[in-house]
């Protein structure tokens, strides 16, 4: 990806206009809000976890195209995954959006690959990570001090 225009690919625009899993879950087991005071983005991520499996994921709130599309694609990617899988995907996605050099292979990232190259826009990395961080906090409210937080 070379330009900002490339960043606003159809997939990101689509998911920001008509996000998947937008709403709440009546029987959520895990909840965390996500706010970016810098731009006023404000979301709430809810999960229903059964054992170690994320059975459902949803989000609601308002924000920019990047944060909304990222939340939409995240929910879609983590439903049916184990919490360990989530952690792996989280780290992979984080590496993808923060990596100034070539990110690791993105084949299994599916549509989330649309965010590769976001590192060129440091001010926007927080937008892409906003709901991922919220989901991670919801699953693991007391992360160890060594965990990277973006």
């Amino acid at each position: 990806m070379s330009s900002a225009t490339d960043l606003y690919q159809q997939i990101i625009l689509e998911h920001s206009r008509r996000p998947l899993h937008f709403g709440t879950l009546p029987d959520a087991t895990h909840v965390c809000s996500a706010d970016n005071p810098l731009c006023g983005d404000s979301f709430r991520v809810v999960l229903r976890v059964d054992g170690s499996i994320i059975c459902e994921a949803a989000f609601e709130g308002a924000g920019c195209a990047i944060s909304k599309a990222s939340a939409s694609l995240m929910c879609d990617a983590i439903i049916g995954q184990s919490t360990d899988d989530f952690e792996q995907r989280f780290r992979h996605f984080q590496a993808t959006v923060t990596s100034a050099v070539d990110a690791p292979p993105l084949d299994h990232m599916g549509p989330l690959a649309a965010f590769s190259g976001l590192a060129r826009f440091p001010a926007r990395i927080k937008c892409a990570m906003l709901c991922w961080n919220a989901a991670r906090s919801a699953l693991n409210p007391y992360p160890s001090a060594t965990d990277p937080v973006i």
């Binding site: 900002a4 606003y8 625009l13 006023g40 924000g63 920019c64």
Partner: protein, 406 residues
């Protein structure tokens, strides 16, 4: 005029450096103004020729530094027409200036149950220090509502004044939507109610002439960096009688006459408020920036900025999908707007790709944004170095963004 502006533009080295391969359209002056060569040179010259501390002058270099530092104070005095340099305190910026008044004057004059009155247009710098004071002293912090256009009217002020209003702290020009407040009407009303008045002139200092004697404000705060000067330097003006009465805000070197382990005799004005080695280069840079403004003159500045703002308002209003935020009666060099279906930050990223620097977000005025029911806006602001090409570049880029998000 065009040649005059072209000449001016050449004095701003930053304008000659492409951004993302595009010519730079700097429409973010309300955030910070670009710096002309003369200011950059004045700062560099201090560090090259006399990088000594001030007011410690046994040696020649300290005398030179002190002379330049104090000459800047004199320039500031003339710039805002204060009666004496005793009334000019160098600070780190508007934020520190307001914090000094809140922390020192507030503590000195206010007590639980007293009112401090601000307006809905204020920058966080003129909100948070008063909230601190409210939490510390138990004062009441009240705000004057703006009307639908984004104006603060004399009537709105009158309605919020109470017998307990001790201080009214108002911006001169809204950094978020460009409203110029009718200070010459508002200040006498506040005074008649027995309140002192602080003016946040951070946004106004570079676009309207300020005369503290004509305004009769008790305090006035502004920053160097919005006035073509460096960051980290600002000014607190206060009427000498008030500054004299106020306790110092910070303790340290330079603000003292004598110190024993038990007791300190404070220095005279304005040094009482300038503890520690000051931002000497910053003050010198600010002094040069003021001279730069004086060389151009406010008549030319206001004429040019008014014309650009009017041109941009017309151009933006004619774009379908653009909604102006705030339509103040008297607007200065700032236009805030939204784009249908496009978050301001997404617009900001794409405008940047086209070399257009604007501010996207809440502009450190969240209460105002909440009042408009918006997370933020896109804000374009204009200065003496902007031209019609900048506005054309902005409009082209906005049309492109609308097409991307269609």
């Amino acid at each position: 005029m065009n040649r005059f502006i072209d000449n001016l533009r050449r004095q701003f080295p930053c304008l000659g450096i492409p951004v993302n391969g595009q010519r730079l359209a700097w429409l973010d002056t309300a955030s910070t103004a670009l710096k002309p060569d003369c200011v950059i040179d004045a700062i560099a010259d201090y560090y090259r020729c006399c990088p000594a501390n001030v007011h410690r002058g046994i040696h020649r270099l300290s005398e030179m530094a002190t002379a330049r530092y104090e000459a800047s104070r004199q320039s500031v005095r003339k710039f805002i027409n204060a009666t004496s340099t005793d009334e000019i305190v160098f600070t780190s910026g508007t934020t520190e200036s307001i914090n000094i008044v809140a922390g020192s004057a507030g503590q000195h004059w206010l007590q639980a149950g007293d009112d401090v009155l601000i307006s809905e247009l204020e920058h966080h710098a003129n909100i948070v220090p008063w909230q601190f004071l409210r939490d510390r002293l138990g004062i009441r912090l009240r705000s004057i509502p703006m009307d639908r256009q984004g104006d603060i009217t004399p009537d709105a002020l009158r309605q919020q004044l109470s017998p307990r209003t001790r201080l009214v702290a108002l911006t001169a020009v809204s950094n978020a939507i460009g409203t110029e407040l009718p200070l010459s009407e508002l200040i006498p009303i506040a005074h008649a109610a027995g309140a002192k008045v602080l003016i946040d002139a951070a946004q106004a200092a570079a676009c309207v002439p300020l005369d503290v004697q004509a305004l009769d404000c008790d305090f006035l705060a502004f920053s160097g960096h919005k006035l073509f000067g460096p960051t980290g330097i600002g000014v607190l003006y206060g009427k000498a009688a008030w500054l004299d009465e106020m306790p110092p805000f910070k303790g340290g070197g330079d603000m003292i006459k004598s110190v024993t382990l038990e007791h300190t005799e404070f220095n005279d004005l304005p040094y009482k408020f300038e503890a520690g080695s000051p931002n000497i280069a910053g003050a010198i840079g600010l002094g040069r920036a003021i001279e730069f403004v004086n060389e151009i003159g406010f008549e030319a500045i206001m004429h040019h900025e008014n014309r650009l703002t009017k041109t941009a308002l017309q151009a933006l209003s004619s774009i379908r999908g653009v909604t102006l935020v705030g339509t103040p009666t008297q607007r200065r060099n700032i236009i805030s707007f939204t784009l249908d279906g496009v978050h301001p930050h997404d617009a900001g990223t794409l405008l940047d790709e086209d070399g257009v620097a604007i501010r996207a977000g809440h502009h450190c005025a969240q209460p105002l944004m909440q009042r408009f029911g918006l997370p933020g806006t896109i804000r374009a602001s204009f200065s003496i170095y902007n031209n019609d090409e900048d506005i054309e570049q902005l409009v082209r880029s906005i049309n492109r963004i609308i097409r991307i998000f269609e």
